[in-house]
Amino acid sequence: VSVAVLADFGSTFTKVALVDEADGRLLARAEAPTTVGTDLMDGYAEALKAARARLGGGNENGTELAASSAGGGLRVAAIGLVADLTAAAARQAALNAGARVCSVLAGSLGSAERDELERERPEVVLFAGGTDGGQRTKVLANASALAQCGIDAFFVVACNDEVADEVSKILSCAGHAVEIAPNVMPALGQLEIDGARQAILRAFIEHVIRGKQLSANPRFEQIVKMPTPDAVLRATQLLAKGAGSRAGLGDVVVVDIGGATTDVHSDRLLKPVTPGIDEPLVPVPMTVRTVEGDLGLRAGAPSVVDVDAEWLTAESAYRNPEDLSRAAAEREQHPQWIPEAEDERRLDDLLAVSCTAHALNRHCGRMLLRVEAGGPPRMVRTGPDLREVRRLIGTGGILAHNDASVALLRRGLQRKAPRSLLPRDPDVSIDRSYVLAAAGLLSTRNPEAAVNLLHRELLETDE
């Protein structure tokens, strides 16, 4: 048996899965605290040792692949000309590459925007603007404005193809590392984000991971292949589309509840045709990842309380908003804390319901009636229509270690915002063995084995 070692360097835990590389069987798994304070490979070695012990030893020469969100993940700034055209396209490209989008800048850039970038310190800047053969002057002016920016970031240039070389020259002459990628919006109504996504991933592997100095061991840079959210998105796509003899499930949504953020990944196979309904200016891609930076169970707990105080005080033991805020602040200060008291466990569950409800409502589109002065009312769809999604998968520590996690996700789904296009009645699975990231990694070697891993661990163990 050829055993693949598939690791996920998370912000708090490093998870290791040992998987049969040929058929995708999960042989053993283990986790250890992520050792950001010392060397990331220390935690990896500990988790790997525990997993190998469970397997009964041996298999020390298999493939090693890892995803990482340790050390703050991948921070990307998205630049465009118009906020809901090229800037929105750049933002979605960055999100689909598994990034945390720390800034979205549009319009004519100047010192205020340079200051923002210097404050946010992105590791990659995705520079978009103009359709192919379109705007030149403003794009070049933005490049010149950014060239003077005092940041040590890698630039991915995905703008009007007629000026991409010139933009690249302006940035590289100012000392920035640059790669040119295909335009994220080559024409109005056309979103082409995969080329920029691939360029961001290359920048992550070749520049960002090294720059973070998370490990002195050169092996670390060799095994890390992608940011963790990118691995999860690949797994979502695999489940939806299938591989080899495994058919796809159709539309799939994954909700990943973490300490600081809640991510939602969705993959749709068919675009609903609804004549007479206006779509967003930038078309919604079939594969979408969104990240909610204010929805999390630990660092994000105070902002969840801000977003959902009324519901949380009504449902939890904390009937007084001040007590609830204090409980959230405790969680923010102690991100590793695992509650034991019943009331505290219940509050964690309710926070998870809040995260699920708000993250899904923001991820999915809404059907709105827009009325403007002097014009007739119009139906507008703001994002993806996920009403027909057949499978919802939950992942993250709170769900993996909780007997009631299916019920928590269903409760989040029931809190549908008015006119929201949330999944109506999906089957729900929980990623209890943390195989989503592992499968995303394995898919780079053997997609069919990766789908087998997902089916066995997520679908054949239905709760």
Partner: protein, 142 residues
């Protein structure tokens, strides 16, 4: 038609009438312009965003829903703020709107012309006006 080759023209509609927009797209493509088909049912703000990203040379709007004057005023105001007054705007279709004191929608072509929007009336005249703008721009560039 070589004189219009490569001229970037945004074509769109204020309402759901796809046929008029299709007619404009087909005709302008046939005479060699580089048509940017922005679809139907667009706001003035959306059209201006499209001009910024594409650096269009002209905007052609068809309208049949009785909003010509207010739509045109908003479009010109937003466009001037975003890119100045260098991009010619043409409107056609049914150029009317309810005006204070009118019993029925009245023709607003004069108001549109006053705000700088051209109303050529037919596609032939629209093409002639595009050629004139092109030639003037070429002469100015020299």
């Amino acid at each position: 038609m070589e004189r219009l080759r490569g001229l970037k023209v945004i074509v769109t509609s204020t309402d759901v009438h796809e046929f008029a927009e299709f007619l404009l797209v087909s005709s302008l493509e046939a005479v060699g312009t580089d048509v940017i088909d922005f679809g139907v049912n667009r706001d003035p703000e959306d059209i201006v965003k499209a001009v910024v990203e594409t650096n269009a040379d002209a905007v052609v709007v068809t309208t049949h829903n009785g909003v010509a004057r207010s739509f045109g005023a908003r479009l010109m105001s937003e466009l001037t703020t975003a890119v100045g007054s260098s991009v010619p705007v043409f409107m056609g279709g049914v150029l009317n709107e309810d005006i204070d004191g009118s019993d029925i929608p009245v023709n607003v072509s004069e108001d549109l012309n006053g705000s700088g929007i051209e109303t050529p009336g037919t596609i032939d005249r629209l093409i002639d006006r595009l050629i004139e703008h092109r030639e003037r721009a070429v002469a100015a560039a020299k």
